[in-house]
């Protein structure tokens, strides 16, 4: 029994799965080096990321289990929960055993946990798609700041890149110090710090109009703040122009 350590990337995690299968060394636990202190007792194995091996594992998951399973695994991974790595490992093992049936096997605890985690991540990604607010900080350049619980940038970027094809924009994850940058052709996620992002402001005109719209469209006789909060959790209010 060994502990596998990887570099924290998805390809790294998939490489761990590969090694665990081919060396027949089942993991005692799996850690990302970002969070893990090296253990001197000698049970740690560092796995260096290998794109080919990662691709092989992903391909095997897609063909021998299902597309949906691969998506669940990726989303669960983006939760960044330390406990998710072993959970993913167990899920994949089960998947290779029972195949496509895993998609319906929700009464199983491992499947239930992975599905739940994947749903939480997807849910937050969806909330970001709804609630991100851009500011036009320079003519033609739009910036949004977010601080999601999970690492959802890779999930939401395709949506915004498709939608705002004719606009330069950046979505900055303040919690992880990551920026997704789109240049009207393609997008990348980078941890290169952006200059002065904190004090950039919109021209305000449209922000004022939006706030006025938001207020006027509400019906006083139907006031229901609880319901509003249910859909727009308080933890995101600092992102919202209409809540400033």
């Amino acid at each position: 029994m060994v502990n596998y350590i990887f570099d924290g990337t998805f390809d790294g995690l998939m490489t761990v799965i590969y090694e665990a299968y081919y060396s027949h060394q089942h993991p005692n636990d799996i850690f990302s080096e970002i969070n893990h202190q090296i253990n001197f007792l000698g049970h740690d194995v560092f796995v260096s990321t290998d794109i080919d091996k990662s691709n092989k594992v992903q391909h095997a998951i897609e063909t021998k289990i299902s597309n949906k399973a691969l998506r669940n695994i990726y989303y669960a991974y983006l939760s960044e929960l330390e406990s998710s790595y072993m959970l993913i490992y167990r899920y994949i093992r089960l998947g290779f055993k029972i195949g496509k049936k895993i998609d319906y096997f929700i009464q199983n605890d491992i499947v239930h946990e992975v599905t739940k985690l994947s749903q939480k991540v997807r849910h937050e990604a969806y909330k970001m798609i709804e609630l991100i607010r851009f500011k036009e900080v320079k003519k033609g350049l739009f910036i949004a700041k977010i601080h999601p619980d999970y690492n959802v940038l890779p999930i939401i970027m395709p949506h915004f890149a498709e939608r705002f094809q004719d606009q330069y924009f950046i979505i900055h994850d303040e919690k992880r110090n990551l920026s997704a940058v789109y240049d009207k052709k393609a997008w990348i996620i980078t941890d290169i710090p952006l200059q002065d992002i904190s004090n950039m402001k919109d021209t305000e005109d449209y922000e004022i109009l939006w706030k006025m719209y938001h207020k006027s469209i509400s019906i006083e006789e139907r006031k229901n703040l609880r319901l509003q909060r249910q859909h727009m959790p308080k933890k995101y209010w600092d992102m919202l122009t209409e809540k400033q």
Binding site: K101, I106, L131, D166, D202, H214, S216, I219, R222, M232
Partner: protein
């Protein structure tokens, strides 16, 4: 007049139209322009009344030549008036959209000068958006009652969805409260849109590409509680609209008495709970294969507002229960209170993988609190009381006193206020 003031007046005047859905269209972002439509719709904010804001829902103007007595914008009412230009409205839409405030525009209007003149202004605005700004986001356009069908056809080529509001559930009420509108002025555009849609779907089979005509179909709205129609009359009307006009949605709007008028039935607060029950029943018609006649009868033409219509139906048909979750067919599963569409689908799939036990039902999403009185699992009944109407009813009725209108303490898990994402 400055823009801020126009927005204040014309958003305020548009707020009683309940539809804000941006679903049903998958318009793509062509020629690297701006925007696309998401088939399931996206909400971007929620106002203080808890309703979703998906589209910039606004009137072009609230200056009206008509005098419908249920409406704040009627010409005899003394309110502030405003009028946009197509340029202003297109500019606001684009700039809101670029900031991710909205999915698109829901443009309606009072009848300014004439129905045709108003319709032309709306068309000018959306034409500008589509052709000058290269905007491919969602557009919902109101068909102005009485406007020429050729204008409606033109409008439909720019819009994702159109709607003609019926507002009053019977011709008699219409005559009484909106004497300048006729049943014909409402039904004609509605059936015109319907026919166009049928034609287009026919010609699509022949040609590879035709111009899309309102790809997200049409909807309408009924006002609840301003006139004496029963729930049964309303629900049967909706059933027919779905059946004969293929409407995507019928919206129900609890009448909010904003002013005194002799025509109106001395109402004081909006019948929100009744509205909620109608939405639930409407849902049962569209997705659960119920018929209006199963839900309401001539003897009992109105819902018991304290009970969910599905539970209400189950209570009256206890002889059909309990059903065995491991073997019951899909349609019967759908009729079990506490089992929704998604849950029924999951059950059907999951039981292929393994026999279901009581614990696994919860993981599948069954609301056991309600369902347990109506099911057996492996032959065992978990409803800790006999299958009798009164006993079950006793257990299922909410413990707290529900005051009409206070939806927040009631079963909002039915996602009523978040409908747009579900089509």
């Amino acid at each position: 007049m400055d823009l801020l003031k126009k927005i204040r007046i014309l958003a305020d005047a548009a707020k009683y139209d309940v539809s804000c859905s941006s679903s049903g269209s998958d318009r793509e972002n062509k020629n690297s322009g701006i925007g696309n439509a998401s088939f399931y719709g996206i909400c971007h904010s929620w106002s203080e009344d808890g309703r979703c804001i998906s589209l910039l829902k606004i009137l072009f103007t609230n200056i009206c030549i008509y005098n419908c007595s249920y409406c704040v914008n009627r010409c005899s009412n003394d309110v502030e008036r405003a009028l946009f230009t197509p340029e202003e409205l297109a500019d606001i839409t684009i700039n809101f959209y670029r900031r991710n405030y909205i999915e698109g525009l829901f443009l309606s209007s009072a009848v300014y000068k004439s129905p045709d003149y108003t319709m032309e202004l709306l068309i000018k605005t959306v034409k500008k958006l589509r052709e000058e700004y290269n905007f491919n986001g969602y557009i919902h356009l109101k068909a102005i009652p009485g406007a020429d069908v050729n204008l409606i056809r033109l409008a439909g080529l720019y819009a994702d969805r159109m709607s003609v509001n019926i507002e009053l559930p019977s011709e008699k009420s219409l005559k009484l409260l909106a004497p300048q509108k006729t049943k014909e002025s409402i039904i004609k555009p509605m059936s015109f849109i319907h026919n166009q849609l049928m034609e287009k779907s026919e010609s699509k089979k022949l040609m590879r590409r035709t111009d899309k005509f309102v790809p997200a179909g049409q909807t309408t709205q009924l006002i609840i509680g301003a006139t004496p129609e029963s729930d049964r009359t309303i629900l049967k009307l909706s059933e027919n609209l779905y059946k004969y006009y293929d409407l995507k949605r019928v919206y129900y709007s609890a009448y909010i008495p904003v002013f005194n008028d002799n025509n109106i039935l001395g109402m004081t607060s909006p019948p929100l709970l009744r509205e909620h029950r109608l939405y639930q029943a409407d849902w049962l018609l569209r997705y659960y294969n119920f018929k209006a006649d199963e839900l309401l009868t001539e003897e009992e033409p109105n819902f018991d507002v304290s009970l969910d219509p599905k539970i209400n139906w189950a209570m009256k048909n206890l002889n059909l229960f309990p059903v065995e979750v491991n073997t019951a067919d899909y349609n019967m599963l759908l009729r079990v209170p506490g089992i929704g569409l998604r849950t029924a689908n999951r059950i059907v799939k999951a039981r292929k993988a393994a026999y279901l036990n009581y614990d696994s039902l919860k993981k599948l999403g069954v609301v056991l609190k309600r369902a347990k009185y109506f099911i057996t699992c492996n032959g065992k009944y978990y409803g800790e009381c006999e299958i009798e109407t009164d006993k079950i009813k006793n257990k299922l009725l909410p413990k707290r006193n529900v005051i009409e209108g206070q939806l927040s303490i009631f079963d909002i898990d039915n996602t009523l206020n978040n409908l747009p994402i579900i089509v």
